[in-house]
């Protein structure tokens, strides 16, 4: 979606145009959902968080600053929601369970794990979950959503060099993790595959 169209949709949504708001959601929901799914490894959580991110963005649309990209704003909110959810889904230690259970409210860590295990049937997701959170996020933003290094650095508030370092390490680790999967060699058929210009450029392509 180019910026002109995006601006038009936002202004119409601000004026009360429900259809424009719907177009905004449809234009970004796939990327936000994919980002949240790859980050959390949990489809239901990703869906809930994506929905909540859109609700928050559309409810505060009058605060949007047109100098920035709508997607950047949306992803910032989605990321914050994900971090909050991840905090709730962190491993619970025995002592914490005892103390929090007596208070009558503790997060169902078992349910988190079960959903996460189901999602890991996806080989790629399994590999991604083996990365550190920051490596995973940078890999997803760069390779899946085609964000530039500069934009990722701005989004994560870290120097570009650090982003590159995480990207390189994460890419190597993910490749190793994928290759360690049972039957990975069959799937990849390494030696028989040639590398032609087109394939390499496709792999390294994306946004200029």
């Amino acid at each position: 979606m180019d910026r002109g169209t995006e601006r038009d949709l936002i202004e119409r949504a601000l004026a009360g145009d429900r259809a424009a708001a719907g177009d905004l959601i449809r234009g970004h929901q796939a990327s936000v959902y994919a980002y949240l799914l790859r980050m959390s490894g949990r489809p239901y959580l990703a869906e809930d968080l994506a929905q909540e991110a859109f609700v928050r963005v559309l409810s505060n649309l009058h605060r949007f600053d047109f100098r920035y990209r709508f997607s950047t704003w949306l992803f910032t909110i989605a990321r914050r929601l994900y971090l909050n959810a991840a905090q709730k889904c962190r491993p619970v230690y025995d002592s914490e369970i005892v103390s929090s259970a007596s208070a009558g409210a503790w997060y169902d860590g078992e349910r988190c794990e079960a959903e996460s295990r189901r999602a890991r049937r996806d080989v790629l997701q399994d590999g991604l979950m083996g990365l550190s959170e920051v490596q995973r996020e940078i890999i997803v933003l760069f390779h899946q959503l085609d964000w530039s290094i500069a934009l990722i650095a701005q989004h994560l508030d870290m120097p570009e060099g650090t982003v590159k370092s995480h990207l390189h390490r994460g890419r190597r680790k993910l490749r190793r993790l994928l290759m360690e999967q049972p039957g990975a060699a069959d799937r990849l058929d390494l030696v028989s595959l040639g590398v032609d210009d087109e394939r390499v450029s496709r792999g390294g392509g994306g946004r200029p």
Binding site: V140, D197, R199
Partner: protein
């Protein structure tokens, strides 16, 4: 499988940095083509590129996403609603009117409070400290007026000996004051005038300098005196200098005090008796020794 940073073979020399740059989208098309041709002669690097390429393609595969549009719009409408532009403008104007109204009300309240502060006061206004000085002055004037009727009857009875103050200091002065029935002393300031003769039991004191002493004590009403005829009030006195002449009476009645002008540099405690009885005569003072 893992190549060290910058590693290359002897023929092709494809480094890890170059592979990283390839996937960082940092190579020009020419550089990319050159790299690919060199990769054909570097099986290890080729393998790494193939694996990475496959991984990147997996990452780029679209993720099936649920359609959130209806649910999101429903929640947004419940929370905020999509109002038509005209209606939204009216809502905005309404909000502005409420804010302006609240500000005006505050201004009116502030103005009314300035014009008539007492109408907003639920409890009496406390006396500001700034007025204390004026009150004391007024009380002093009143006290002096009341005292005029007393002066003749004030008898600084004696300087107390006992452990007594050393020569050259005056530690304690005791005064016996008898108010008249129709007088209600509230604040009494004793300022004996110069050349006054103050009588005590068997000793007369002559005030050589004025003011020799000022004494203030708390409010004592005739009613209080009726209940407790020998009511004792404590005050403090700043004695700058007391001049006395013992030769008029019996010099040496106060041991250690040499007749003459005795300069005092400190504040000294004073106890004063107000009542219809003479505490010295009636023996009230026997149990009570002066405080130093």
């Amino acid at each position: 499988m893992t190549r060290p940073r910058g590693a290359s073979d002897a023929h092709a020399g494809v480094t890890r940095d170059e592979i990283d740059r390839l996937y960082d989208r940092a190579l020009t098309p020419e550089q990319r083509r050159a790299l690919v041709s060199r990769l054909r002669r570097d099986p290890a690097a080729m393998k790494e590129v193939i694996e990475t390429d496959r991984m990147v393609r997996m990452l780029k595969q679209p993720v099936p996403s649920p359609d959130l549009t209806a649910r999101v719009l429903h929640r947004v409408e419940r929370r905020r609603g999509f109002l038509p532009r005209r209606l939204r403008r009216r809502v905005r104007q309404g909000r502005t009117a409420v804010v302006v109204g609240a500000l005006l009300a505050l201004l009116v309240l502030a103005f009314a409070r300035r014009v008539s502060p007492d109408s907003f006061r639920l409890v009496p206004e406390p006396t500001p400290v700034a007025d204390l000085g004026r009150a004391v002055m007024e009380d002093s004037a009143e006290g002096r007026r009341v005292l005029d009727g007393f002066v003749e009857r004030i008898e600084p009875v004696r300087l107390v000996a006992g452990d007594g103050p050393p020569a050259g200091t005056l530690g304690l002065a005791e005064f016996h004051v008898e108010p008249t029935d129709d007088t209600a002393p509230r604040r009494i300031v004793l300022m004996p005038t110069a050349d006054a003769d103050l009588m005590t039991e068997g000793v007369s004191w002559h005030v050589a300098d004025a003011p020799t002493a000022s004494l203030a004590f708390d409010a004592i009403t005739p009613e209080m005196l009726q209940d407790n005829p020998s009511l004792r009030a404590f005050g403090s006195v700043a004695l700058l200098a007391v001049g006395f002449d013992g030769s008029a009476g019996q010099p040496g009645a106060v041991p250690g005090v040499v007749p003459g002008v005795v300069p005092l540099s400190a504040r000294h405690g004073v106890s004063a008796y107000v009542g219809r009885r003479d505490p010295f005569r009636d023996g009230d003072l026997k149990a009570s020794q002066p405080d130093h």
